[in-house]
Symmetry: T
Subunit: 159 residues, 12 copies
């Protein structure tokens, strides 16, 4: 699909490549918001309230990331797909499989593994975007910094 317009100074081919990378990041950011809430509701055990409350600010963080990513796609002349089916269609990473009531540690382990894939994918995207559009790369750099800090929180529980 031909782009409607391009950012001044970027050509169409470059823009389309960046858009493709960002769409994948958008879907994972949106899924992470869903997964975090899923964990928030289902975890149990003596640390319930502390971990339950630790998760909500991170939900806000990834929702804001998704908004920024999607609006960058639109700014580049593309059309972000923000629907649930885009998540399952675009997904190249492992599904989050844990469900039902389970202990805090079990859920944090599963989430830690999910984040490891997420962060690796973001770092790969940064390397690719560096060649295409510095602003898009900056955006994902800021995102991964936040994800890595939250992963440290999780790992500190599991050490």
């Amino acid at each position: 699909m031909a782009l409607t317009f391009m950012v001044p100074g970027l050509d169409e081919a470059t823009s389309e490549k960046a858009i493709g990378i960002l769409q994948s990041r958008l879907s994972q950011e949106q899924e992470t918001a869903l997964v975090l809430k899923h964990v928030h509701w289902n975890l149990t055990g003596p640390n319930f309230i502390a971990v339950h409350e630790m998760i909500d600010p991170q939900v806000d963080v990834v929702l804001a990331q998704a908004d920024e990513t999607a609006e960058r796609i639109a700014t580049l002349g593309g059309s972000p797909d923000g629907r649930a089916d885009a998540i399952t269609r675009v997904r190249t990473w492992s599904k989050f499989l844990l469900e039902g009531r389970a202990g805090t540690e079990e859920y944090l382990k599963a989430l830690d593994a999910y984040y490891s894939e997420f962060i690796k994918a973001d770092r790969t995207a940064i390397a690719e975007l560096d060649e295409l559009d510095v602003i898009s790369s900056n955006i994902v750099q800021d995102h991964v910094q936040e994800l890595e800090k939250f992963q440290w929180f999780m790992r500190s529980h599991l050490v």
Copy 2:
């Protein structure tokens, strides 16, 4: 799956029925948040900024509804499934099909149709929950009141 516990005064069979109804509402509330953002990013035309900004508060509304619904499921002793795959698995209503850049009117029409099914499903849930658990019914009543008001906003654009 046997419930972990029940709300004092509710039996297990009643609780399980209510949980089933609420899981469907949860998935649609979560999908609506995704759909609204999808529209927010892709609509165009001379009313862009006004409609773009009208949508964000409604996203907050349905995210809060999903949180309240999921926590009610957990309160009833159930385990809410908040993942993207639950949305596509549970979905008994029509997918939101419009994608790519399109005019404000086109997107609002599609969203209006989506809300008509959403509201009908909520009203059916209220009728069923009235027989099971008045608190769960109250929760969905408050939700549908907000949805109907937002639908009036959309319809006022389309009249």
Copy 3:
């Protein structure tokens, strides 16, 4: 006048009945805001400042009620009439007759009597709306709860 649209799940006849009931409530809510300000400006006596200040938050309450009622009419597909002439045309309750400077007690007695009619009319509306539209009934239930509490304030002065 045929309705422009209906809330999903409500038919036209039901909607029109509910709209008629709500228009009456809207006009009385609007009039009450005017009456409360009228009292706020004209009362005198050693309790002036305390009662003068007690009234303003209630003005905000009934203005918000009127807004909610009118938007419910619009949501149901109707067209609310919010003009001064609608108040005098729709009025089936007693006019507020006291005017000019008068003591706090005299004004609170007149207002107490006005509220008694207002509350009765709201309770009648609730009974009728229960048969038509649970959401509209909920709205008026919330309104009358606020009015009854304020009437207790007034009556506590007059005991």
Copy 4:
């Protein structure tokens, strides 16, 4: 009716003339709040949300004007009449006749015409009050400045 008291430095005849002028302004300010809400609820069309939201701050403006005008009447020793019937009794300007759902442009045209009469009446009041009481004149000057700015908003839509 003899005044209860006068502002130090103003005589009774002067005060009564100023009170008469201000009562007319009060009633129109109160009616304008009602009319603006009426428009807010009934307008439709592709600019619905933007114009709907533009009106609410102006409602707050004219409600505050009415409060200031009424309290000036009371300060001058008079007794403001703030009831709905005072509006219809005192009204020397044209009724607002448009009702039911209608397009944004149609409602803004009707409102623009209503404001033209309102502003002229305020400017006449200023000229008369200049001879009676500079403070009362200042109050109406501040009011008309706000009204004229809002009329520019409306006219900018209609140009």
Copy 5:
């Protein structure tokens, strides 16, 4: 004791029955605020700070419930008894017996048991109030929704 006045539309016998039900709820809401603080101060163990902080917002919740219940009694023409002796006199539920320093789990178990009786009593009150006064019933419905959610918090620690 004859009532001072009644809510318009309610007769004296109905009002007195509702008042009796609400007085019991008031006393338990007041006692719960005391019990929650008692727990807040005495619990110990590795989850101390998290559970200590989880309790304070719930104290605010039940204090606000008591205020709303007592003011409803007064609105119905009754006279709420809010003293410590009323709690011990009216109490038909089990005393909270745990005291002194004890672990988080021990205190949460005792509190969970206390809440089970509290919630059952509220649900019984709702059933009775439904026959007497819809507004009073609505008030207790809102209260029990909050209590049930907080009980889920506690149970999530104990699973």
Copy 6:
């Protein structure tokens, strides 16, 4: 004393006359803040708390007036005297004589009389400043508007 500088467009003689008028207003504004606090602390009777609280915002009002008046004197090139001795030296109006515990009504009567002289002096200053400097006149006009409204509050208690 020769002025340090003048506002552009005003000559020295005009500035000095305006400064003289404003110094008197400054001293009375400062004294009024002291008198209002004196009343705030000493009044008694069944309306104590309401009137006690009514006074504090007016203290803030007259302190802000004094600040504005003094800075206008400085802007005009003069030097405001803000000390206690300036108040007693400049005072051409009646001292506030009531002291010790006394009833609300007694204190409000004394304060009402004090305000009558204050307002007359401000209105005289406005007439004189109109011939000298429109900005200084505007400042005092805004001040007297606030004083007259507060006097209405007091008189409403005494009617």
Copy 7:
């Protein structure tokens, strides 16, 4: 019961004496919060709203005092008893006997008498704590300062 730990620098005997004194203060602070609300709900008469509103901030004050007192007990190694039964068990001062609707003056008189005993008991506690633990004494000193100021409010109504 042997203390779990002591504040560094205090021995066990000293700590236990201080704890005993503070438990009595805790119970009276908790009861005062209940009594103030009891008055808040039941008083009537022409000063209703002003006195009704004067009481709520004082409720917040004594609740905060109780929290500080209980946490000081815990800091000293003791275990505060915060239950309703502790109030009636520990009580060495007169019960608050007034109940049912009564005039503002009647309730303020009863409350004034209750505060006289409360303040005396606090001042006795200060004298005893001065010999035991300066920090505990400071805490009660701050509390009695607030109580004495509120008593002045009440007495100003009754003079």
Copy 8:
């Protein structure tokens, strides 16, 4: 250029004259915001931080003045020119010539001289607008009051 519309009660010739006067004020207000920032960035010396911070609120003041002036032009039916070239084209006052790093005193002297011309021009505009449109005159009166106060700040540094 014929005006699009006029304020009710003002004729076209009057409006055009007022617009011409206001356009000059707009351009100078806009330039002043630029000049103040220029000074803010370039001044040096031992009073750097205090004067640097004193300037920013004044920038906000003149930007708000420019907004109010431009919107008054539009309200009168005119079309404000807010571009940089309008400033240099309309300028009838002396350019601000000081540039590069210079001491606080040197910059404040240059700014004081610039303000003297600014204030004189505003006072001339007030005299002219008094004959044309009282509201426009009021606007400029409020502006010059703020400018004169800020000039006093500067002069207090230079005395």
Copy 9:
């Protein structure tokens, strides 16, 4: 004059002595607020804005001190005299003599000297109140702590 009432636990003679000491502190606190404003308006020189702004928070501090002192007098059963004439009558310390425009250093030196007497008088009052009423002593201790800190600010300019 016999006291209206006494704080529970204090006798009349003690209360009267404390009241006498506090009245002197009240008058000096009130005068200090006037003196600080006087300085605020009249100082000049290259540090104008920094010192001008440093003074305003201290004005708020001493006004709050005066309020607390006066309300303590009333709490003790006395009647505070808050008028300008009380300041000049009660004054046992040196008048503040500097007036007219003068440099920052000159004004700070005069203010530093004024504060030295103020602080010494407060410390003397503390020593006397320690024998009479610990709460009154605490109040003045808190006041002098604030004054000494502000004096350090002034002295840091003068070193």
Copy 10:
């Protein structure tokens, strides 16, 4: 002109080159604030209020950019020129030519074209600054990200 100082680690030649690039960016950022306000005041048509309000936050954005750019120039040892004449002198991009009342679409098209040049110039500056000073480059990167997003807003109206 020799620089007053350099950032530690940067030499003078490098600093001067960076300063030259940043001065051009400063002038365009300042002009953009003026142009955006010019559009804000002059646009008309059915989308007036929505687009009018969309522009103001962007004005704040570019004013903050100009402040950050100018302070970076000063930090590098240079002297920013922030006057209107610097804008017209430095300008290497096309003037904004549209003036007078014109429709929303017409103004957004002109603004879109202006932004295209602005963004290209910023991207060129980034490329040059990358070789000179990474911090200065980061600053302009953050600026252009904001500009590109706002251009997407405009383009969404024009699609």
Copy 11:
């Protein structure tokens, strides 16, 4: 070193002794802020997030204590040494030796031991300052009250 000045009423020898005591408290307060952050960053285990978040408000507390202590030293005419080397030079208490990742319990035990020495030193300082300067003693009393409460938090985890 001779003091620059003394607080009015304190002699030089007294002041110097108080300064010496306060310098030691300053250094320990500053070290505690560093130690708390050290713990905040390095602790691990299932209670990570709850304890991690519990520490930050205490960091703010001890930083504010250090600021108050240092400014008291300056007020007394001394010169506080706030550098890292002062901490290691002045330290008479045990170093905090635990480092690297370690469990919550291990870190809380080490911190509890550190606080025991800190509190003892503060209590010794209070006893000494009571003989020198009541205001300085009050400051340390307020500090130790906060430290003791936080120590209770830690001990509640370890019981």
Copy 12:
């Protein structure tokens, strides 16, 4: 010491090198907070208050930098050392030697020299981190931008 874990995509050797660089930055950021406070408390002279207040926001800035740096070390799998002894152990830059009361200029000169070393060390760290971990480099880039701006503030005083 082997790392506990690594950021996904970074190997252990790289992580350890980055950790070493960041530990040095952490210690200097912590020391700078101490040094800034030391200056804040000890400087004197006619610009005291302005410079005293300029420093506090910068303290907050460097404390936040230290927090971010330490948490990055932990995120990379390392263990930050935040104690006072780490500062003196790690220090490779010049101690801050100025102490005791000294003039503003003297302190700003010493601080300016300290910042020059600080900034150079940060810029060296950026160059090294660019080869190891882009996120860590971004963090230090943001820090140095803030430091360089604050150094410009200081230098503007000294020019």
